[in-house]
Structures are given as structure tokens and as C-alpha cells.
């Protein structure tokens, strides 16, 4: 279980990115975090694994208080949090296999990782994951030869090979076309279901959020303004999150999309 306790992040510029956020995510729950640009979505998930240092407040993963950890125990704790990025953030000049195995760096010594001598179980797991996302034949390709959707699949493998308890996912579909976006979201949700993983998915596409997640958090200017099921996103709620706009079309389209989406994806 992940718990955020009055989490505050104030940037040096004086911007309050997060204003006392309280959040509790039970094991195995996939949660979509929506909100306009600059609402603090990226900051929030980066405060969890402390790529961004929170100003105050606590983050608990299980019974570990992440916000108190020193650098070496923080590295150990980061192994339990897989992260997936908007622009994939693969190391472009390394092979697909090296990118996937880089998810094991937290478990591997410096020289072993330097000479790419990863333990055989890690390599087996890497092949298994690549096979699961349909990229086993790509293992020796360089990451920059792959298409967007393929790269994001590699990003997913890199996060999963960490054997995490939770996935922190930052705009996984922002650089992808609508079809690939849905495939990637479906894949992420299936994998979370298979492995009973909790996940925070930052996403600015309200429709996708409603399609794939059973709990939606609306963030606006660093504050949680909505926490509830996808069908609670009425025009009034969307106005509260994003500001005044014509939301009727969005809400209607959602209903149609829900009919199209196979029920098993949602578990």
C-alpha cells in the first residue's frame, strides 16, 4: 500500500506544485491521475520515488517511510517502484535487451553491470517479459530503431523486471497515436492485473483514464479536487478539474467507448 501524508512540494521558483496532498492506494489498485498541465501530476509521482525531493510531508510504501531514507536505502526502495515515462526515456544507443536489463541495476553490482554479466535468472526474466509484450525478436535491436509503441513496451519491461510493488507511470500515451495508446494502456492494465500491482497513471486523456481505471483522482493546482469512480466525472467535476469548457461531448463519448471496451480488460 502506498500512502501520501500531507505531501507538499514547493519549487525554488516559489511555485507550489503540491499543496498538502493526502492519498492512499491499496495493493493492486490502478489509479488514474488526471488534471491540466502544471497541476502537479508529474511532480506527485516523482515525489514518491524522490526523483523530486518533497518539501514536506511523508510517503509510505508498505511500512517503509520513503521520505526518511538515506541515499543507499532509497536506492533499495526504488527497486520496488517501477517507472514508465512519457517519452519512453530508453537509453537510445543501447540495445533493447540492455534497456530491459537496466531495470535490474539496483540488484546488480557495478562491475557485473559494467561488463553486462547479469545473472541468468534476470536474463530469463527479460526474455520472458519481451515475449509477453511481443518483442522477443527485437532483443538485439538498438532502442532508437523501434517505433513509439515498441519503445513504450520496452519501457514497460524495464519497469516490470524490477519486480516492483507499484508502478509510477507518467503520461504513457502522450507521444503515441490513439490506437497504440489504447494498446499500451490495455497492456499496462493487464500486466498490473496479472501481477497484482498497484499503479498511478498520470494521463491527460480523460477518455483513456475512464476506460482503463476504476479510480480517478483529479488534480488541480496541486490539490486533489476529485477522488472517485470514472462515471462520477460529470461536466461539473471536469470543470472543477480543468476549468470552464464544453464537457458534454466528452462525457457522452465515454459511454460509447465503455461499450466498445471488452470487459475483461477492466478485470
Amino acid at each position: 500500500m502506498l500512502r501520501l501524508d500531507s505531501l507538499v512540494k514547493k519549487y525554488k521558483t516559489g511555485d507550489m506544485a503540491l499543496k498538502s496532498v493526502n492519498l492512499e492506494i491499496p495493493n493492486g489498485q490502478v489509479l488514474a491521475l488526471i488534471g491540466p498541465s502544471g497541476a502537479g501530476k508529474s511532480t506527485l509521482i516523482r515525489c514518491v520515488n524522490r526523483l523530486v525531493e518533497p518539501t514536506s510531508g511523508n510517503v509510505w510504501l508498505g511500512d517503509v517511510e520513503l521520505t526518511r531514507l538515506g541515499s543507499s536505502s532509497l536506492r533499495k526502495a526504488r527497486r520496488k517502484m517501477g517507472m514508465i515515462f512519457q517519452e519512453y526515456a530508453l537509453v537510445e544507443r543501447l540495445s533493447v535487451m540492455e534497456n530491459v536489463l537496466s531495470g535490474r541495476l539496483g540488484y546488480t553490482g557495478f562491475w557485473r553491470s559494467f561488463f553486462r554479466k547479469f545473472p541468468q535468472p534476470d536474463i530469463d526474466e527479460a526474455f520472458h517479459l519481451l515475449e509477453r509484450v511481443g518483442l522477443d525478436h527485437m532483443a538485439n535491436k538498438r532502442a532508437d530503431e523501434l517505433s513509439g509503441g515498441q519503445r513504450q513496451r520496452v519501457g514497460i519491461c524495464r519497469a516490470l523486471i524490477q519486480n516492483p510493488e507499484i508502478l509510477l507511470i507518467d503520461e504513457p500515451t502522450a507521444s503515441l497515436d490513439p490506437k497504440t495508446s489504447r494498446q499500451i494502456m490495455r497492456l499496462i492494465c493487464e500486466l498490473c492485473e496479472e501481477r497484482q500491482l498497484a499503479a498511478i497513471i498520470n494521463i491527460h486523456d480523460v477518455l483513456l483514464a475512464q476506460m482503463f481505471s476504476k479510480r480517478i483522482i483529479g488534480l488541480q493546482l496541486g490539490e486533489v479536487v476529485y477522488d472517485g469512480p470514472p462515471d462520477g466525472l460529470t461536466p461539473e467535476v471536469l470543470t472543477r478539474i480543468y476549468g470552464e469548457e464544453d464537457w458534454e461531448a466528452t462525457v457522452e463519448r465515454v459511454d460509447e467507448d465503455n461499450l466498445d471496451a471488452p470487459a475483461d480488460i477492466l478485470g
Partner: protein, 271 residues
């Protein structure tokens, strides 16, 4: 840049009147300085010598032709020395340039206020002194010969390589490093997985580029006694052996062309 209202239509000008005048004034000052300097040089030139420059040049050319091909037997070794000075010098420079570059780059330096200024100072001091001057000093310190030349080339190249490399390090994509960090990787692992793959092409390009420059620089180091083909050049000029000089110049030209070709090929295949 400037828009003002005039008779119901907006007037756009690139500069304000004041800016326009200051540009004009800058040109005036620049041209005046140029004219003055031209005058100064003209006054200090003995034009009589310049007048017969063509005769002198053709005279020199006549004495240079044909090159004394038999002298080639004495040149193979100095050419080999020259190439070795350049190659070893570049290698030495790279060994030192890499850590200096990581200390100088804003995103990898251990301390912005303490280590970084030192690294930048190393870069500037290495770059500000020409390799010929380094060689001149080193010949007095460690004596004439190939070693002095190699060290001179090395010292001059540290700054060049480190500067280009630290700029490459500062331009890396931080999100790739962030992703590696998020897996729980240590600092060293972030370096070898997140940063090194990104700067490897730049590193290879810089090394080959500097090697190519060093071949050219090491051909003149002999003029101050630091080994290489310049030694023969100096001796030939002092003894007015112009047919040897022309052969040496041809050999230098050939070496430089070959090195440029090699470096272009290597850079092309890496990047």
C-alpha cells in the same frame, strides 16, 4: 521589433531610430580603425622588398625544384616519429580530458562551486597556450626529443578535448539518466548506463578530430627541437637546402591528407 501608429496604419521597423544610429556609428568606428591600421602597416613596410616579391618567389621556387627525392630515405623515421607524437599525445590527452570533462560539466560535477572552477581553469590554461610554446618550455625542462613533443601535444589537447566533451555531457537527454536513476541504480551505474552511451559518439568524434589536428601540429614541433619532421625542416632551411625543403613540404602535405582521410572515414563510420 518596433511598431508605431501612423495615419491609422501600424508602421513596423526593424530598429528604433536610436538603434539605427548606433549601428551606423559602430560601422564608422570599425572602418576608421581599419583604415588607421592599414596606414600604420603601410608606413612600416619597406615597399621596395615587396615590389620584387614575385621575382623572389619565383627564384625560391626555382631553387626548390626538383625536390631531392633521394633525401626521402632520411625522412621515413621523422615521419613515423611525427605520427607517433600525434597519436600518443592524443591518447595521453584523452586519459586526462575525460575526468576533467566530467568535473567541468554542470550536470556531473561533484561540486559546482569548488571542483567545476578548477576543471574549467585546467581547460582554459591548457587551451590558451599553443603546442609550439608548450614544446618550447618542455624542451628546456625535459630536453629535446620526441618525449617533449608528445607531452606538449598532450598538454595542449587536454583542454580542447575536455571542453568539447563537457559540452557534450551537458547536452545529454536528462530523462534517460532519470529513468536509470528510478531503477535504483547507483551513481556509477547511472554514469555507465545513462550518460556514457549518450556521449560515446561525441567522444569518438572528438578524439579523431583532435588526432587529425595533432598530426598537423606535430609537423612543426621540430622547429623548437621537440622531435618529428620539423627537425629536418629546420635543418634544411638553415643550410639553404631548398630541394630538401620542398620534399619535406610535400611529405607533410601527404601525411596531412592521409590523416584527414583516415579521420573522416573513422568519424563517418562511428557517428
Amino acid at each position: 521589433m518596433v511598431a508605431s501608429q501612423k495615419d491609422n496604419s501600424k508602421v513596423w521597423q526593424r530598429r528604433t531610430t536610436l538603434q539605427q544610429y548606433s549601428v551606423w556609428l559602430s560601422w564608422l568606428i570599425g572602418l576608421s580603425i581599419f583604415t588607421y591600421c592599414w596606414q600604420l602597416i603601410s608606413d612600416k613596410t619597406i615597399w621596395m622588398f615587396v615590389m620584387d616579391a614575385t621575382t623572389q618567389a619565383s627564384d625560391l621556387a626555382e631553387r626548390m625544384i626538383p625536390p631531392k627525392w633521394s633525401y626521402m630515405a632520411n625522412l621515413w623515421e621523422p615521419v613515423w616519429d611525427t605520427i607517433n607524437i600525434a597519436t600518443l599525445g592524443t591518447a595521453i590527452a584523452l586519459v586526462f580530458a575525460v575526468p576533467v570533462a566530467f568535473c567541468a560539466a554542470r550536470n556531473t560535477t561533484p561540486s559546482v562551486y569548488f571542483v567545476r572552477p578548477i576543471a574549467l581553469f585546467v581547460i582554459v590554461s591548457s587551451r590558451s597556450i599553443n603546442s609550439l610554446i608548450w614544446a618550447l618550455m618542455l624542451v628546456t625542462i625535459i630536453g629535446p626529443g620526441v618525449l617533449a613533443g608528445t607531452v606538449a601535444i598532450g598538454l595542449r589537447s587536454i583542454g580542447f578535448c575536455a571542453k568539447l566533451l563537457y559540452e557534450a555531457i551537458e547536452e545529454i537527454d536528462p530523462s534517460q539518466v532519470e529513468a536509470i536513476t528510478a531503477t535504483g541504480a547507483s551513481k556509477g551505474q547511472q554514469l555507465i548506463y545513462g550518460i556514457v552511451p549518450q556521449i560515446l559518439p561525441a567522444f569518438a568524434g572528438i578524439s579523431v578530430f583532435r588526432w587529425d589536428i595533432n598530426i598537423r601540429e606535430s609537423t612543426v614541433l621540430g622547429l623548437v627541437g621537440a622531435g618529428g619532421i620539423g627537425l629536418q625542416l629546420d635543418a634544411s632551411i638553415s643550410t639553404l637546402a631548398w630541394t630538401q625543403v620542398s620534399l619535406i613540404l610535400l611529405v607533410i602535405l601527404g601525411t596531412v591528407i592521409v590523416s584527414e582521410w583516415v579521420s573522416a572515414r573513422i568519424r563517418h563510420s562511428i557517428i
